[in-house]
Symmetry: C2
Subunit: 575 residues, 2 copies
Amino acid sequence: MYRTHNCGELRKSDINSNIIICGWVQRIRNKGFLIWIDLRDRYGITQVFIDSEKTSPEVISIAKSLGREFVISVRGKVIERQAPNNKIPTGEIEISVENIEILNKSEVPPFTIENESDGGDELRMKYRYLDLRRNPLKNNIIFRNDLTFEIRKYLKENGFIDIETPYLIKSTPEGARDFVVPSRINTGEFYALPQSPQTFKQLLMISGFDKYVQIVKCFRDEDLRADRQPEFTQIDCEMSFVDQEDVISTFEGMVKHVFDKCLDYDLGKFKRIPYTDAMERYGSDKPDTRFDMQFFNSSEKAKGNGFKIFDDSEAIYGFNVTSGAELSRKEIDSYIDWVKRPQIGALGLIWIKHNMDGSIKSSIDKFFDADQLKDLTNSNPGDISFIISGNKKKTLTQLGALRIEVAERFGLRNNGKFDALWVTDFPLFEWDEDSKSYHSMHHPFTSPVNGIITDNPADTFANAYDLVINGNEIGGGSIRIHNKELQQQVFSILGFSEQEALEQFGFLLNAFKYGAPPHGGIAFGLDRLVAVMNQDESIRDYIAFPKNNSGKDVMIDSPSKIDNQQLDDLNIKLK
Amino acid sequence: MYRTHNCGELRKSDINSNIIICGWVQRIRNKGFLIWIDLRDRYGITQVFIDSEKTSPEVISIAKSLGREFVISVRGKVIERQAPNNKIPTGEIEISVENIEILNKSEVPPFTIENESDGGDELRMKYRYLDLRRNPLKNNIIFRNDLTFEIRKYLKENGFIDIETPYLIKSTPEGARDFVVPSRINTGEFYALPQSPQTFKQLLMISGFDKYVQIVKCFRDEDLRADRQPEFTQIDCEMSFVDQEDVISTFEGMVKHVFDKCLDYDLGKFKRIPYTDAMERYGSDKPDTRFDMQFFNSSEKAKGNGFKIFDDSEAIYGFNVTSGAELSRKEIDSYIDWVKRPQIGALGLIWIKHNMDGSIKSSIDKFFDADQLKDLTNSNPGDISFIISGNKKKTLTQLGALRIEVAERFGLRNNGKFDALWVTDFPLFEWDEDSKSYHSMHHPFTSPVNGIITDNPADTFANAYDLVINGNEIGGGSIRIHNKELQQQVFSILGFSEQEALEQFGFLLNAFKYGAPPHGGIAFGLDRLVAVMNQDESIRDYIAFPKNNSGKDVMIDSPSKIDNQQLDDLNIKLK
């Protein structure tokens, strides 16, 4: 037996116990005849105390030979600490050493294993196994474990069955971003890794498993952006004999449950907003609703006043920022520069200060008098209003991005608050200008509201819903079509012949012939959920071994070349 | 809302309730003015009753139009059943129909959805989603879900952390059976799918997560044999600061827990046997210990009696079969033929009948008298003894196979009993005649017993252990080496230079430099565990969507060709 206790559990009540603990040397203070060692393991830190008058010379010599991150076993007696440390749970005791055994030495680690490390990003990625010893990362991984356990528990109690679907599946023509896997035995053929278990969960509904869950890895060979991973984890769920309300209430319950259990946070009843309103009021289909700053629409009122930019604009939208009237000219200019950056692409930004004394100062003073500006913005004294105009879709999106930037600079985000929102009634179809055709906004099995597709497909809304927390899309799903004729109609709007539909979705369409129940579901991004619950925007530190922005694992040096023999066996060669 | 109840929950206490249930039409009995429908969902079957005198003509006409596997919704009142069916939990009630809605029609399914289906294996694999509607398969999948939940619960309560390791990892030179994944972004480079998360779980121990678990898919591109799957699920575990006893007791506890919770079966304290004894007494490293039939060793006694076959043999082993003396000559011959098949490869089989009257009849009467034969076999009246001789290793293996075959024919297997056994003290190295070198029996990080490698490496035993239940290897693991010098010694016995070791295990060896704790672990084959707990030998029906023996999923037709554009994007081409 290596240990009787871990480094986080000894308390005053253990005083006089003979114990053995194991761990890593966090810190050594050597005052000559007195030596203190902070011994660390997953559970905490315990102080080890060596009094050279009471300890054998052998043990003292071992203690003096220790370095940072050595793995040792300490046998001794729990004693009361003369100078208690109330910052740690073990701070009232220390271990009076009888023996120390070095279980393993350590070279000097390439960076400090402290809450704030001195190692750069790249170095810490290369030595990820050491970075994971640091409390912030360690706690993230433990939090993730607690979260998935509570999710599983909630769903088990609600009758969900965890069913594993295959990882080696079939590539589909539209699966341009599939990772593929050459088959050695079936020469010239390939499996594909799933982008999601979508078709399999629908097949499971046809099989009669009416409540399915799987916490499952998904794969997408996308051009990587910051904070995207080629492999990511989904909480994938599907239910039968349900409508949208059933799905929403089940999973609102789940999310409330995990916030309660893991954060002791009451999310309250989730807000809801239709997609069109979200775009109109926040310029985003995943608005951050921790703060207000909803848009006003001045498209009508602002025109016809001789200001050509407005007169030529399809849409004129803005929002008011409380306390914004205090912004300096320089600060305002930096917002103007910000929206003009190519990533945002606005041509300009109109601002209107509503000073505390009721006076108005604006970049469009020449065209509008104070009352007109107050009427346009409906602002309060102390506000600044920001207005963007132009093409409606672009204007809303640009203003939405600005709204987040303003909130960021005003400290309205990452403030310990959580706000959960269902975005509903997404359009069923999106018109694609390039291909001059409709695409499914969600996927082609998503059902229209009330089961009816309107004469103008673009005006048809879907039984689709996203869960947004703090401006992050945490999950999304839909009620699926289970009626053959309706499915046919959708395919024909998407421009698929019956033949083409069969080629792409053959086995699923075939399965639909044999009694498909009404069904629908949702999938959550687990990595994102964990990050958002920790008020974090980046998912990387919630994954034990993530890849970098080039899809590389620099710790194991992957991907990498493989030898010719292996290529030969797979019947492929490099181009 | 689609339903108020499911098809498995209504009871006598619900009589007079107005309910709605949904499900699939299992069976219709139409007696003209009375119609009964068995409505099935995941939870059970409820009988629906239509009395044409009390039901609207529209509903009757709908009822008459129904076919097998139609999905319907039934609104009605719970009434007492005139002829109760005590075989099903809902057998005391039925539903008096008010309305029936067809939610979806079904074509006639290609085979019957009954406990015993009329569909052949291949047809049922193609329509797996229909096969999964049948109770035996459905129950397997639900059992698997219950099992994994209990495993997670036990391990959570014991402080284990569920940590996801990556699926896109690095191929290693010895990874000839790796599935590889071409990277589109990193041209000419490949990821590999993990054969197991072995290195990652060891890295997690170095990170300080002292108790790790993951229920995880693993991949092996092996030539497929019956009952092997290219993707399979492991319960993968690792612990730090533990010795073999700690690991064994933790996981004996886990297995006992799940047998208790899922089967209400007390496995008792597990037996233990060293590898060498298992081979010597059962001719197998995974003996079925539900029955006895241990081997006797006649290698000494049987020689020197003028029977050339024995005299020329390295080893002579046998076992006694209770009641075997009743076997007919024809039955005995069929055993002789069985061991001579090329799969077993024995040259012959000696038999000795010890009749109830004490007399002896044997195939070697000419060379041995009755007393000699009784002395060789130590058999009891009523037994038959089977003896095989020749090369020791082959003899033991052949006799081990025969032991299982005899048990099978005598009905000693799959009898509702479970017997769990730890096989320990495996050899650390195996001598490979082809390459004239040692190989690791487990893997090169497995530690030797007492940390010492004996002068003759072949005589060194490992801190390695397998869990065997009913003759199936359910799990296996080892205590790893954490000492650099010992690791170096193992590599040198395996014929690796330091350089070669670094190339193959580079990042793990590097990690070992920074304070690796003593650690060890185990991995269980989940598919196998579920099958064995259901007294089944085949794993396929415990996986929702398995592949066939050619690694193909005939339902989705995978693997399959991919188009040239996709190959181009990946910078590979077919040979």
